[in-house]
């Protein structure tokens, strides 16, 4: 192997490459399958070294209760053992899912049911209610870029129609009581303002910026990715079932709730609570706490109000304005 690229590989293994060197390595890997294999071979040795030596440290450590192990040491388990154990744990949780245990494993099983039910859903409509909106100190400066932008129409009371992971229509009211509609049909994103031209763009994010969560690249219309993200970036907990309060007219006495708390270092709302039908796994309501929305941190609920199949062109802008309106491409 060319010593130059050998050195780059070793530099990569030790996290000591500059951005330019990283880019050079990236190009070299793509240039020839042999290069990719040379890199893969080095990486396999690197990974096995880590596994062997981290495991040997653990074996040498005195035996203490797992709960007393420092988290750093606890994490340094042999990858093979840990991940295989994870497989076995999951197998047990699948087999024991009928047992009402509020454990993380049970929560994962429930999350899988929710994801599966979501995949089989047709078009859905959600009502958004804003519970809290706070402007953090760093954005309180009237001169900050976020504050200089025109205020967004209120999200509170907005109606969100969704299809799949990237089609949506968001209807909000302006302070003057006029509809302000944004949306995407999966190929273009668009905005229908009360006045002025209709604007659309091939950039799907262009008019999706009014969807909470877009700052963290997880807009709330994309339930597919959002639910998948809960697996990776959140600690899950099934909340205890509450006795149904029929006297208070509780609408869904068989609902369950799951709480997801974001792990440090990940993007997204700090907490997500899902209320779902125990029998089907269908989402009734999601609550997002401490979520980025422009300059604000907001808490909101998203309540499922209807499940139906919209016409094929419903997510096109043309379904939401008269033919006389001027349409501009951006």
């Amino acid at each position: 192997m060319n010593p130059k690229y050998q050195k780059l590989i070793h530099g990569y293994l030790d996290n000591s490459l500059s951005t330019e060197q990283q880019s050079e390595l990236n190009q070299w890997i793509k240039a020839d399958p042999k290069h990719a294999r040379q890199f893969a071979s080095s990486m396999m040795l690197h990974d096995r070294l880590r596994s062997e030596l981290a495991t040997s440290q653990e074996e040498a450590a005195p035996v203490v209760a797992a709960s007393r192990l420092p988290s750093r040491l606890w994490r340094r388990r042999s990858f093979a053992l840990a991940s295989t154990a994870c497989v076995l744990l999951l197998a047990f949780s699948l087999l024991w899912q009928s047992v009402d245990t509020p454990s993380a494993s049970a929560a994962v099983v429930e999350l899988n049911r929710i994801i599966e039910a979501n995949e089989h859903s047709t078009d859905r409509t959600f009502l958004i209610s804003v519970l809290e909106a706070v402007i953090p100190p760093k954005h309180r400066d009237p001169g900050s870029p976020e504050r200089r932008r025109p205020p967004k129409p209120s999200l509170d009371g907005a109606v969100l129609d969704v299809r799949g992971s990237n089609q949506f229509v968001l209807k909000r009211m302006t302070p003057r009581g006029e509809l302000f509609i944004t949306g995407s049909n999966g190929e273009t994103s668009w905005a229908v303002r009360p006045d002025g031209p209709i604007r659309y763009s091939d950039d799907l994010t262009r008019f999706a910026r009014d969807l909470p969560g877009h700052e963290d690249r997880l807009p709330i219309n994309n339930l597919h990715d959002g639910l998948e993200a809960l697996r990776t970036a959140y600690d899950l907990e099934l909340l205890p079932q509450e006795a149904p309060d029929r006297a208070a007219g509780q609408e869904h006495p068989t609902d369950r709730r799951m709480l997801a708390v974001k792990k440090p270092g990940f993007l997204g709302a700090a907490r997500v609570e899902i209320q779902y039908a125990e029998s089907s796994g269908k989402i009734r309501e999601m609550r997002f706490d401490d979520m980025a929305y422009g300059p604000q941190r907001i808490a909101l609920t998203m309540t499922a109000t209807k499940e139906q199949t919209f016409p094929d062109d419903y997510f096109d802008h043309s379904s939401h304005h008269g033919q006389e309106r001027v349409v501009e491409y951006e």
Partner: protein
């Protein structure tokens, strides 16, 4: 345990155990933080078992598991904001193929790693411990050992090269393909 694990789960676990070194190495190549790598790896393990019913047993398992790993890595990147020091999508696709091929031809050879590690002592053993057991980078190792960061990096490169040569030699002696 035998009484509780069904045949499908047993097969999934067996396949995963064989595929795990390649999948782990693939994740390591694109998720640089060791602790995050552990989390992603465990998520992949869970996803593999959950999706095992969709696996076609007539096709090789490792590429299928690597496909799941790529999706989980993608999710990880989206959560974190992409690390500027990782590869682009085309390079990642090349690597997924390469890890599968390497796993087929070289995976068994790494079983000699423990033996080869036993042949090191003194400074080499200390450097390996600091780098891989304590997860220290060359600059931090340098301040610990009184060496320069450059000399630590060169020493680590030399040690890894010696380990690779040792593994090749021992596998040749044992006639491992």
């Amino acid at each position: 345990m035998e009484n509780f694990v069904d045949e499908t789960t047993r097969q999934a676990t067996r396949q995963w155990t064989l595929a795990q070194p390649a999948v782990s190495a693939f994740i390591s190549s694109v998720v640089r933080d060791f602790r995050d790598r552990d989390d992603v790896l465990q998520n992949v393990a869970v996803a593999v078992v959950e999706s095992f019913h969709a696996y076609d047993s007539n096709s090789p398992f490792i590429p299928w598991a690597l496909g799941i790993a790529r999706r989980q890595v993608g999710l990880y990147w989206r959560r974190r904001g992409r690390d500027p020091l990782v590869f682009d999508d085309d390079a990642v696709a090349c690597l997924a193929i390469a890890f599968h091929e390497e796993a087929q031809t070289r995976s068994a050879k790494f079983d000699f790693l423990q033996d080869c590690l036993g042949s090191f002592d003194g400074r080499a053993k200390k450097l390996l411990g600091l780098r891989y057991r304590d997860d220290m980078k060359p600059a931090a190792i340098a301040s610990e050992t009184g060496m320069t960061a450059n000399s630590v990096a060169k020493a680590l490169q030399r040690i890894r090269d010696q380990l690779r040569a040792c593994i090749e030699r021992k596998s040749l002696e044992a006639s491992v393909p």
